[in-house]
């Protein structure tokens, strides 16, 4: 969120070249909060342990979904704050942007949440997140050796994902 257009105080990082990876990191959570996948391509600053980081990320999204639905000026029906909201029902947030990164989010009705953190000048990634969800279906869900609810350990999925993300604008 830039109030003053101020580039002297907190400058944006340079846009990565096409050769490098455009994304910083990716999280995939299931409906129970289990982090199924965490991929990191470019993350110079790490402040928390992985478990805390995942919990924080999940909690953040949970609260953001609730908050954005409650703040909706067009919706007539408002429930209590803190009650889980349904995506696709009324309003659902899909991204937020700061001066150093953009976070894009997608949740399926089955509770699979995909979060992609990229550089701030990325465009709308909703189609890309849908594509990643399709990749998840093809490489993970259809894999008989994968048990649902467990972290994903599939080299094929990881490499296909890396390749796709590398091609994102």
């Amino acid at each position: 969120m830039q109030f003053f257009g101020g580039s002297e105080i907190s400058p944006s990082p340079p846009v990565p070249t096409a050769a490098g990876n455009n994304a910083h990191m990716l999280y995939v959570f299931n409906r129970n909060g289990v982090c199924l996948l965490y991929r990191e391509w470019n993350r110079p600053l790490k402040t928390l342990s992985p478990q805390q980081d995942h919990k924080l990320m999940f909690g953040l999204l949970f609260s953001l979904k609730s908050l954005t639905a409650k703040m909706d000026p067009t919706s007539a029906d408002k429930g209590n704050l803190g009650v889980p909201q349904l995506p696709g029902q009324g309003c659902s947030f899909h991204s937020f942007r700061t001066n150093t990164y953009k976070l894009s989010f997608m949740e399926s009705p089955s509770g699979i949440k995909i979060i992609l953190v990229t550089h701030p000048r990325t465009g709308d990634l909703r189609e890309s997140l849908k594509y990643i969800y399709n990749l998840y279906v093809e490489y993970v869900v259809k894999n008989p050796l994968y048990s649902p609810g467990n972290p994903i350990r599939s080299d094929l999925f990881n490499s296909t994902l890396d390749q796709y993300v590398r091609g994102l604008g």
């Binding site: 009650v83 349904l86 089955s110 259809k142």
Partner: protein, 202 residues
Amino acid sequence: MPPVAPRSGDAIFASVERVNAELFTLTYGAIVRQLLTDLEEVEEVNKQLDQMGYNIGIRLIDEFLAKSNVSRCVDFKETAEVIAKVGFKMFLGVTATVTNWDAEGTTCSLVLEDNPLVDFVELPDTCQGLYYCNVLSGVIRGALEMVSSYLNGRLGLSVDNLVSMKTEVTWIRDMLRGDDAFEMQVKLVKQVPEEYPYKDDE
């Protein structure tokens, strides 16, 4: 960018990779045949088919959601329609009809006139208690359990309840037993409220 509209069952069916129908029917037949040989008891086979269907259902739901772009259904009625029109069409190539809603909107019947699983099949006298298509009931049960739904006010709870749907699926009519169609009754039995998974411990 406006959200993408959900795709119709026909459109998706045309775009996914399909397998030969006879191969599908015969493979399923071989599975049932083998289960009968291994387990011998017809009741055991029914249970096993249902369990297999459940395991398929919990994965199938993601493929269904990814390919069909449906957003969350507002209530159970919409859910049943989506299963019958889009779901069945996409995976089996046939559509079902939804009938027999009860007063509260928690029980309905899915009627299949045409069922690719049972082509060429005849039940012998030794297997009269067998629900040959029991895998289908398991698939529906598994898939619905993975999707949360908006619990409507008619069931006596507040409209904001987010619940995961536990259903009971039973066979009412079975063509292999002489009826004129396949009819499954889907009953919403339990709503497990969804909660924030992490406890407030820190």
